[in-house]
Symmetry: C2
Subunit: 356 residues, 2 copies
Amino acid sequence: MNRRHTIALDAMGGDHGPQVVVPAALRFLAHRTAVDLILVGDQARIETQLAGKAAAKLRDRIRVRHTTETVEMDESPAKALRGKKDSSMRVAIDLVKSGEAHACVSAGNTGALMATARFVLKMLPNVDRPAIITAVPSLHGHTHMLDLGANVDCTAAHLMQFAAMGSELVKAVDGVARPKVALLNIGQEEMKGNEQVKKAHELLSRSALNYVGYVEGDGIYLEDVDLVVTDGFVGNVALKSSEGVAKFVRHTLSAQFKRNLFTRLAGLAAMPILNAFRRTMDPRRYNGASLLGLRGIVVKSHGGADEIAFENAIGIAEKEIHCDIPRRIAEQVGRHLGEAPPARDVDDQDQRRATA
Amino acid sequence: MNRRHTIALDAMGGDHGPQVVVPAALRFLAHRTAVDLILVGDQARIETQLAGKAAAKLRDRIRVRHTTETVEMDESPAKALRGKKDSSMRVAIDLVKSGEAHACVSAGNTGALMATARFVLKMLPNVDRPAIITAVPSLHGHTHMLDLGANVDCTAAHLMQFAAMGSELVKAVDGVARPKVALLNIGQEEMKGNEQVKKAHELLSRSALNYVGYVEGDGIYLEDVDLVVTDGFVGNVALKSSEGVAKFVRHTLSAQFKRNLFTRLAGLAAMPILNAFRRTMDPRRYNGASLLGLRGIVVKSHGGADEIAFENAIGIAEKEIHCDIPRRIAEQVGRHLGEAPPARDVDDQDQRRATA
């Protein structure tokens, strides 16, 4: 209990690199006492960001690990994996593999992070592919959803694995005894959906999970479920569409308040309420998606994250260390898959797609 | 020019049947002069709704066509098609086929509407499957998106057909000379996405359409595109997720204003702005999705539509009659598919899925 943990941060990842990652690291350290950080990336650029007063007090809890390469945001995962063995992303993951760090966080290229993490850390038993999971705000507090883009073509057996992993995560981090698991579909009737979804529905219905059936897209935000399971293409589109609507709403609302002097005054009166509303909806509070199914903890931050958002992603990594997520998944997922057919019938092409 | 048009309404469809459809019909007739309506459904229930003063003035522009059956919202499309030849939905479509009506509108079961419309009206040349299209609000006014649930498994060639049809629709109804067509994907880089999407990207890049490349989910609302093309599963999830977020936002915002006396007063001051905001975002203004690719005009209303929303769907049918959409698609789609491989390699199973 209460032993110190270490988290490695890919300081070069994301749209802003050390300019965001280092201040986020300092914020995080100021708020937490039992965690140390390793900042991985260009030493000179990191030290520049560490040159302030605030950093001095926290400096003994920070190590800098110099690397010479950076994975670009639009670089092919295969190229990053083969060609950049001294990238900040790769070395941050290597630190998890070696046990020097208990988790790593990166705002870098998702595909490269997936491929590298899978190659370096390997999969847990009974899991074929990593899946990306995150929490989204909902009428009932929040809902977890996976997969969010790691796997563009999934079989029913993969969806079943995602459900088992996600359920374990929710159990651990939210303390929900029997998380309500739903499958994303285009209707709630049995006959709707594509073949994978219908087969996954059968597998989930026979499983020991607390499966509550199909939800439609709006159910992610409106229905009382703890976990929504879908393939990576659909999950990614659902999440990004939602972000788009939320941005559109914020823009439209603020445009209405700026129309004239009267609306500006009304806006002033309504300011505290609007601010409270913004906090509830703040996407930064939900930044940080975990790569589940690996033999180690890897958290992906949004590429455009600011320091508050990136700090949140570090917090997610810390929580998963405390909950010992990979061990729990290793122990529990096989049990849930007892009644499901083996998913090992995945062909090579599928495997390649997963990391493409 | 200015000749009278007739639209058939499935008065029994949707969650509320004649209670919503008949008042919506009266609203529509009061606002438009050159259109007559045929209300299809249970005569007694329709007449009850027509018994007011408002109806008397408009009564000569309404015909009632009695039917004895109703397609249930959760009925299988195949069962509805084979078993209910005197349903309000079927007869409304039959009226389009016979030429008595120029278009029909239904808030009924989407699958049944699709299957019945396809069986009765048949497909236009060069089009394999109908696709559902609607407009959604965006930073740039609005964007059209298809397919929204008619087809859960699409080939690249189908996506190409959807793009060509959607582009013609946007050209006609919005008067855009060269609509900007985008393909929905999970990243904007060439290597991302599944196989269909990558192939469709190639077909679209070679086509005469004004193809602008990939957009991600948030691009539907934020990017300057006129048409977003995707398969029915993804499109449906994107649309429903967006509806869910919008509802969640409205709920959260109104909860913030109701917290205490002060926030209620602030809410009162902000009321006109919030109302203007609600109008901009009002989903009722966007109710009405067209089934493209058929030899006739069929508009689907949201099942839960109220009379303002259903009136909007009738307006969409009217606009498509004016623009002569099926003829335009028949004339133009073949041209755009000139360079695409024939899509007739669709197997029987695919065909069955499309109406499942």
